[in-house]
Every structure is written in structure tokens, then in C-alpha cells.
Subunit: 113 residues, 6 copies
């Protein structure tokens, strides 16, 4: 049923294989990645905004999709997400626009999951 | 009927949704993007060459496709487009080559549209 | 007296020259840049966090310096700034570390200005 | 039959078209690219490690696929490839992870070709 | 006498050392680089515009300086150079602005050399 | 006494401050960074080649300097280092050349330290 499930299924399947590979450096990066977005000096909302916009300026569609999923779970409004992505597009330039298109499509799909 | 129409249809559909979202920053970037490629101190040909090659060194397939479409409309020859992309590949390195493959495919397709 | 003043003086001087050049596209980008960080659907704090971390993953020292200055004005704590930069370093990789060094130095200097 | 053959077929077909285009700069880059990975002061193994990891930090899936194919031919073990990719992920950051997923998938597929 | 001469002196000195090193790959890249900007299907003006703007979106100050020097020699007007850099800043985003500052400074200096 | 000592002194001083900041994510990245380059499935030489060339294609002068220092310690010859950097310049494009200049200068300086 569409791009959200496809993304989650592939991501889950491959992460499992990567972690099963006993690659020590990669395992520690994954572990650190999980911990980094939990509440600390900054709350979870701020961290997800950082994750989303850094992913967008670095033009990584899958990273954007992951953080959009998290932003939805946490309860960000469409206006907030769009504004964050607007700032990121300004910082990263029009080269970001094709990724913005896919991000809008994914966010829309997330509303129906 | 192939990659040109697919690209244009998806691009058109999503741009419409993005503009309908009332995201002020994004709207202004889109507006500025439209104006930037019109004739000014530089002619339209020079600007499209800039758009094409900057898209290629930044390795954005969709941006390359868009500017290839424009280059075709304006009347660039295959030799001119290939040479521009050659310079961009030199600047950006062999990492650009996979994008060059897709650009060649798209340009070929554009001749039959 | 030192890197903060040097940065601000050079930035101010050159921005003035750029704006005096009557380059329409650049003027509009500068204008949009000023507006984008004002309160909207997101508050100013969230936007500065976005600006800071996107600048860091894109490894632009001057952009980092600018947003560190803004973060100081707004009242971010050292713990908050460090954590934001930690997430950005994780996203952007160890290649970000040299920029992190300069960011720490600049933030320290900002406390004495 | 799967992603390895698809990749090789498309790469082969498009490289042929690119070389047939008589674009001098591109031809010379392709020629240089072929020569650069042959034994010199460094052996072929070292050069493929460089090709693989540079492709990964620059986040070029097709380049990663190409060098994974070469690493398989040369006889790299899965442990060696994974460790190289681990170092590259550390250097390039978590933004590399989606490319790591596709690299793991491709490497697995290469074992069955 | 300022940044233009400093840049040219350092560039000249180091290029000489690099070429004296008998590194075959590097020598061939340098050779290709020299040839790529000569007249072909595109004229020298178009190629310098490509070199300048690709350097700017890739945020390489020294590359920008080199191509600004060439643009001056060829006879580009300040309006033309500024407009090209404006398009590049739009494509590459506000992250390009610090490089734009240094480019404006260098172009101004070039008028007095 | 020149750029090697300057680099090492600044790097040492700032790393100390960063580690003293008790920023958990950053501390763990630094720790992982130290471990990643020790012998594992790949030997130390291979890992330093990866570190050097990934740093070069990502155009991080300080990272290049750090790995050049390590390559010197380990006993790489000038021919080996130059060839590795040649491959990286081919992958990353002529945009890498200004960083290559500074790398050659630093490597030369390292011979006299």
C-alpha cells in the first residue's frame, strides 16, 4: 500500500541484515543514531526538526522520509513541517526542490497510513 | 510514453501541490526560480547552460532533466549539450558519470517527443 | 575583539557591497533570507536551530558563525548548542569535526563579547 | 535476473552511447578512469578500496555498485568490504546509511551471480 | 599587493610542484583541465560561465577566483558576472553567500590589477 | 615552525575543549573515530588510505592534513600518497585541485618535521 510501507519494509529488512553482519563500526553508528534523537538538553521535537532539515539540505530522500515519519508520530502540523522544509530549501537552494516534491508526496501519504 | 512524460507529469503534479500549500518561503523560492532564467544581463542560452551544468555537478538528476528539456526547447545542439556536460563532468569528477548516463538517455528521448 | 568582530565587520562590509550592486536575484535571495528566520508556524528558536545545524552539515564555517551569533542573542545555553551540533556531526560524519572545532572556538569567544 | 544484471546492462548500454557521441572531454575522462585503477605505486586492491569508499561518502549508489562488483572479482571478503564501508559511514555520517542499505543488498546479490 | 597576486603566486608555485611530482593521473587531469576550456562546440565565454558557476555552487573559493580572473581577461562585465553568480546562488542556496562575499571582493580587486 | 605544528596545536587544543564539554554524542563520535582506524579486517595502511582519499573527495583540508600526518607515520612513500590523491582527484573532479595544492604543501612540510 504505497511508498510509506515500501520504505519501512525495505529499511527494516536491510537494517536487520546490516546489524546481523557483526560490523563493529556500523553497529556503533546505528546505536549512536538511535540514542541521539532522544530527549537531552534539547527536546525530541527540536531534534527531529534538525534531523529533517539536515536530511533535506543533504538531499537524502530516505533520510527525509524517515524523519517525516517521526515528525508525524510526534504530532508536527503540516504548516510546521512545510515551514521547516522551506527554510531548508532556502539554505540548500533550488537543487533541493526535487527532494521537496518527494517529501510532500510522502507527507501526504503519511496522513492516510 | 517514457521518461520525459513521466518526469513532466510528476513534476507538474507535485509543484501544484507545493504551491497550493501556502508555504510562503517555498512560494517565493519558486517565484524567484522562474524569474532567474529569463533574459537579463545574460541571455537565456547562457542561463540554461548554467542551470544544466550546476545541476550536473550537484548531481541532481531531476534538475538535469528539467534543464535538458529547456535546452532542447531553446535549440541547443547535441554537440553543445554534450560539451557542456563534459566540462561539468571534469569539474565534478567521475562521480558524475552515472548522472551523465541518465542525462544522455533523457536527451535521446527528448529528440523523439 | 578577534574572530567575532572580524567576522561581523567583513560580513557587514561585503553584504553592503553586494546589495549595492543592484543584482536583482541576489537582492531577492538576501531579502528572503532575512524573512525566513522570523517567527511563523515555527518559533525563532526552532528556526535558528535549523539554520545552525544545516550550516554545520553543509560545512560552511561562516554560516555556522552567523547562526551561533544568533543563538547567543536568543539565549540558547551552551548545552543546547552543543547537543544540536552533536546531532549535526552524527548526521554529517567525522568530516564535520574540523568545523566543530572552529564552532566551539567561536562560541567561546561569543561569551566574552 | 535482479539488480546486478540490471545495473551492468544499463551501464554497458549507456557507456557505449556516451563513447559513440564523440565528446572529446568525456572520452578522455572515461579513458583516464579505466587506467587509474590499474596497478601502479598502489596495488589494485588499495585502489578499489579507495574507489568504493570515496563513492560511498559521496553517496553515489551506482559508483558503489560498480566498485562492489570489482571488489568481488578481486576477492575481497565480506568482512573487509563491510569494514571499509563502516569507516566510510563514519567519515560521511548517518546520511550515508540509506546508501549502505543498498550496498549490502547489492553485495549479497553479487554472491549469487 | 593583495589577494589576486597572492592567489596567483601560490597557485603557480604549487601547480609547478604537483606537475613536477610525476603523478600520471594528476598530470592527465591537469592537461585535460587546460584543454576543456578552449573553444569547441561552445565558445570560451560559455565555458568560463560554466566554470565560474559550477565552482560557486560547489563552494570552492579558489576555483571561483581562478574563473573570475579568466572572466575578467575575456571581458565579462560586472553585470554579467553578478547575474551568473546570482543564478548560482539560487541553485546552491544561501550556503553559497559567504563564498559570494569573497567572490565580490576578489572581482573588485581584479578591477585594480 | 609552519603549518604542521600550527595544525597539530590548534587541533589538540580544540579537541581538548570539545571533549571537556561533556557533550555525549560528540564524545562517542570521537571515541568511535579513534577506534575505527585501528587494525581489524583491514590493516592500518588500508584504513589510512580510505581516510585520506575520503577526506580529499569531501574536500576537507584539515581532515586531509590529519591523514597525511598518519600516512607519514605509517611509512607511506610520496609515490603512494600521490597516486592515492590522484585517484581521489579523478573521482572528485577538478574542484579537488585547490585542496590537492594544500595537501602537496603539507606533505612536503611533513618531510622536514
Amino acid at each position: 500500500m504505497g511508498i510509506v510501507e515500501d520504505f519501512n519494509r525495505y529499511r527494516g529488512k536491510m537494517n536487520e541484515k546490516i546489524l546481523a553482519s557483526d560490523s563493529l563500526i556500523i553497529k556503533r553508528i546505528f546505536n549512536l543514531d538511535t540514542n541521539a534523537y532522544t530527549e537531552g538538553a534539547l527536546d525530541v521535537r527540536s531534534k527531529e526538526l534538525i534531523g529533517l532539515t539536515c536530511s533535506l539540505v543533504l538531499r537524502c530522500d530516505d533520510c527525509v522520509r524517515y524523519h517525516l515519519g517521526k515528525c508525524k508520530e510526534i504530532g508536527f502540523s503540516t504548516e510546521e513541517v512545510n515551514e521547516a522544509m522551506g527554510v531548508a530549501t532556502l539554505v540548500g537552494g533550488t537543487i533541493v526542490i526535487p527532494h521537496l516534491r518527494r517529501a510532500f508526496e510522502y507527507w501526504e501519504e503519511l496522513q492516510h497510513v
